[in-house]
Symmetry: C2
Subunit: 144 residues, 2 copies
DNA sequence: GTCTATATTGACAATCGTTCTCAACAATCC
DNA sequence: GGATTGTTGAGAACGATTGTCAATATAGAC
């Protein structure tokens, strides 16, 4: 009988996973898997695209990175403040500038809404999108 | 000279668009475009898949239906309470039961967060996922 | 260090939702 | 009816993501 627990992905430390984690450290906004794969190639790191996807999924499952699904269904990844726990994002549509947001009041509200309607195991997604000051300034400069 | 404004998609009333709108009336939860296409076929309505996608997009652009993007990137569509304006959703992961939520306090909070960080044209996505009472009961019955 | 078991990798195929193409068609207006 | 032009549909194309599986690298035991 297999009493041994099934081991999760991401057990071994490899050059590829280290590289994916490293490239995530270099940026501060949400990036697609293909973006990150390109960045790795430019750095000379040879990592297969499938491995980038696998590493990202493992890191996301482990709670080390956040995933944001765009309106057209693409997944973007970001290394968020470690140990920050649950939080949300304010994201610039122009340049991708991302600000982490905590809102205990909203967390309580979401939990209450679920309970009031008899729902259990409630989770939620909440993201704010807008145009940051820098991008507004740039647009104004171009229009001149 | 073309002084006439470019007309948006959805100008003409066709059998196909009427059919797509009708099938959306028959369900109360979020459905994928392919789901709706299947429903139409079963009803004997002959509508091309591309037309289903086009109709849904037109209706969404017009604000007549809501789109919910799942974690794996699929778009789901739902006819929400007409004239209800901006709102959010509480969705059962099991059966898809959907409840529309209004939360003016959260709207104000989101707007404030954006303004405080210098963001303009702020929008947001907010959805709550859980397991409804019925689905909990069903699970309990099956485990017996 | 060597050996072994097995987790991991990568090139490529495959999948799947969605959009594009464009000739045939049909709604609207005269 | 006829002209105009938005709309349709079958299939190809697309793009992100996942599956395949033989070759490889890692961690641990010896
Ligand atoms: Zn910006
Ligand atoms: Zn939250
Ligand atoms: Zn349910
Ligand atoms: Zn809102």
């Amino acid at each position: 009988m297999a009493t041994e627990a099934r081991r999760a992905i991401g057990e071994r430390s490899t050059r590829q996973r280290t590289a994916v984690a490293a490239v995530l450290q270099e940026v501060d906004d949400f990036r697609s898997a293909q973006d990150l794969h390109q960045m790795l190639r430019r750095k000379g790191e040879r990592v297969g695209l499938a491995t980038v996807y696998r590493s990202l999924r493992a890191m996301a499952d482990a709670g080390d990175i956040d995933i944001l699904v765009t309106a057209d269904g693409e997944s973007l990844y970001r290394r968020c403040g470690q140990g920050a726990g649950h939080h949300h994002h304010l994201v610039c549509r122009g340049c991708g500038l991302t600000i982490e947001i905590s809102a205990p009041a909203v967390e309580r509200w979401a939990s209450t809404v679920a309970v009031d309607h008899g729902f259990t195991d409630a989770q939620h997604t909440l993201d704010i999108f807008g145009t940051c000051q820098d991008c507004v300034d740039q647009e104004a400069a171009q229009a001149r």
